[in-house]
Amino acid sequence: MADKKFLDAMKKKFSEDPTEKTTQFYNMGGWTQSEKKTAFVNEGKEIAKKRGIPMYNPDIGTPLGQRALMSYQLSTTDTFVEGDDLHFINNAAIQQAWDDIRRTVIVGLNTAHNVLEKRLGIEVTPETITNYLETVNHAMPGAAVVQEHMVETDPLVVQDSYVKVFTGDDELADEIDSAFVLDINKEFPEEQAEALKAEVGGAIWQAVRIPSIVGRVCDGGNTSRWSAMQIGMSMISAYNQCAGEGATGDFAYASKHAEVIHMGTYLPVRRARAENELGGVPFGFMADICQASRVSPDDPVKTSLEVVALGAALYDQIWLGSYMSGGVGFTQYATAAYTDNVLDDFTYYGKDYVEDKYGGLTEAPNNMDTVLDVGTEVAFYALEQYEEYPALLETHFGGSQRASVISAAAGCSTAFATGNAQTGLSAWYLAMYLHKEQHSRLGFYGFDLQDQCGAANVFSIRNDEGLPLEMRGPNYPNYAMNVGHQGEYAGIAQAPHAARGDAWAFNPLVKIAFADKNLVFDFSKVREEFAKGALREFEPAGERTAITPAK
């Protein structure tokens, strides 16, 4: 048996050898074989007794557990968990990953500094910037700086809120109090740091984190408003402004509109969401939010698949799995992309194939011949694993799971070969066709309809018909109800940049803003964090224990 990365998981999940084609059913003890579901039953009984309304009862409806209720290994970790542990409602790490994105906005200080210096003749120095940052770090969590007799937020509830700055100017960065600086030189490998600093130049940007709890009570659209209000007040205080003078309007305009980068764009009315909601986060942003590229720069597979995991949890489980569909999470097939080392096995195979065939990554011609070669090779390899290892086929028991994983591997591998996300995307679609013909099945209607027409807009870069993959997102035409795809698309957007050793995929400011040790969720090790969440070892922010009765 070859060294397949998914075999350890298969051996743990099932009692039979992974190549065994028969097994036993109907004698597993139903839901009682699951520790988690057994606990749910006990909890449900307690709750029902207390509230007088019946609750959880797995004996209602379809008979759970007629076959082995298998465990799942978080890929690249040693952690095995039950499927229930990866539901976003049961996993505080997944929730916090979303919180940390939704509560972030990047705001320039450059317009404000210009107004201060050129219009008002006020000198801006590293010392005044530090003073401003001290002020805004008092105000951003919800404290007052301009008026007396104001009500304020309890620091224990909003302790995750702060503001840091970054710049490409090393000298300026050195002179600002280091407590407030995202140090590009410290966080990134040297080459990446140089590229990022060159892109940022002498500009200075704030990575603003409003409190997690504000995003939960209000919405993503509130992030830039809350941020702008506190920035405006802090400017007035730090630079001794008149609260009503014209310049304050400019500060407000800059921090609300002119120099603001939202993590997600506003969605059209038919989806009715403001900025900083998941449906507006472009795949390239998701790739840049993930920080695996700076901690594992020599492992393009890991770098890309960490992005896949982040996207699968957020786009599939939270955005499409609940926001858009009203469903309860789509956990089962979203998690296929980041559990049991299956996608990892397929993608490392593709990377090795590319290196052997083309003499290295990004060496292949960026054309359809490479798409056909790498896409076909990887798709066939992946499909064959399901045929050689019945345990693997049973693990990914839905065609949508297999389709996503197979096509993601084909797409990432092709992007490794060409250094271009568009050809990677083309291989995704090719793999879908090959899968459909080999097994005479794919996903479900809503899943694969876009896979059967998407090839037509891969190379058609026209408004509303095609975009570079990095700029596409969940709201792109045809992708809007596209579960099991979007995390993978984000991974394919990352893949060429990982292969090229790029410091970022789409936006250098986003990449830097998330290179931040003070974030609650560690975006450099997504799957490890999800595992901690599954084990109930992840400590989230924005908890209400400070304002609720002690238990």
């Binding site: 084609k21 099945r441 996903g443 090839a455 190379f459």
Partner: protein
């Protein structure tokens, strides 16, 4: 020859056979009309068909050239409601497979609406027409008693390993293997309601027959990658769709 499906393998030939309406499907078993009705579970055997509109002859329909051109199917003529049958095809060499079903249904049956997923394949039609096509689907090589499931709901099983009797997993255990007779019996209708008497579906096909009739490519059967012609056509479709939308003349 009609270009129904490319490929030089037996799987490709089987796909052509199913999809070619001129090809006469092997009849492998006898299922009575009454048993078909029981399996479907939409009405009791002998019960009148429920109507959703009066017979077309009694309806004062506006003049319409399409109505002139298209002869209504029997169920539409009578005003029957629309009902369904849904199959689950094991990836372990079941004869029919989901997209093959869709493609072949559309060339064999009129007045249908069919939907294809990885783990189930539904076809809807007016009730009396549904019964007729269901009989074909159950009696012919479309069906194997062990590897094909008739399941309206609770469908998981197509990708799961087989049980010790070679049957596909079914959480509701609608089709069960009778060890004494060696035959598979349907003890519940397609949505899992118990039947008064089991419907005997017959013996499972042997492995050799299944492999000869299957329409799925597998490396432990016939590998798709070895069917060079079929793969080339699939790749050509990909290239054509990709370039056709960009620059059909020069590509990119």
């Amino acid at each position: 020859m009609v270009q129904i499906y490319p490929g030089t393998s037996q799987v490709a030939q089987n796909r052509r056979n199913f999809t070619n309406p001129e090809y006469e499907l092997d009849k492998l078993r006898e299922i009575s009309d009454e048993d078909v009705v029981k399996i479907l579970g939409h009405k009791a055997p002998g019960e009148e068909y429920k109507s959703v509109h009066p017979p077309l002859d009694e309806m004062d329909e506006p003049d319409d050239s399409v109505r002139e051109l298209v002869a209504p199917i029997d169920g539409a003529k009578a005003g029957d409601r629309i009902r369904y049958i849904q199959f689950v095809d094991s990836m372990y060499f079941a004869p029919a497979q989901p997209f093959l079903r869709a493609r072949s249904y559309l060339s064999r049956f009129r007045g249908i609406d069919t939907g294809t997923l990885s783990g189930r394949q539904v076809v809807e039609a007016r009730e009396r027409d549904l019964e007729k096509l269901s009989k074909t689907l159950l009696e012919t090589e479309y069906f194997d008693t062990a590897r094909t499931g008739i399941r309206g709901a609770g469908v998981h099983g197509h990708s799961l390993r087989l049980d010790e009797n070679g049957l596909m997993f079914d959480m509701l255990r609608r089709q069960v293997f009778n060890k004494e007779t060696g035959k598979v019996e349907m003890v519940k209708d397609q949505v899992g309601r118990e039947l008064d008497e089991p419907v005997v579906l017959g013996e499972p096909l042997d492995e050799e027959t299944l492999r000869a009739k299957t329409t799925i490519y597998r490396i432990d059967g016939e590998a798709y990658k070895d069917d060079v012609e079929a793969v080339k056509v699939c790749q050509r479709i990909h290239v054509s769709r990709s370039f056709g939308a960009f620059n059909p003349v020069t590509g990119w």
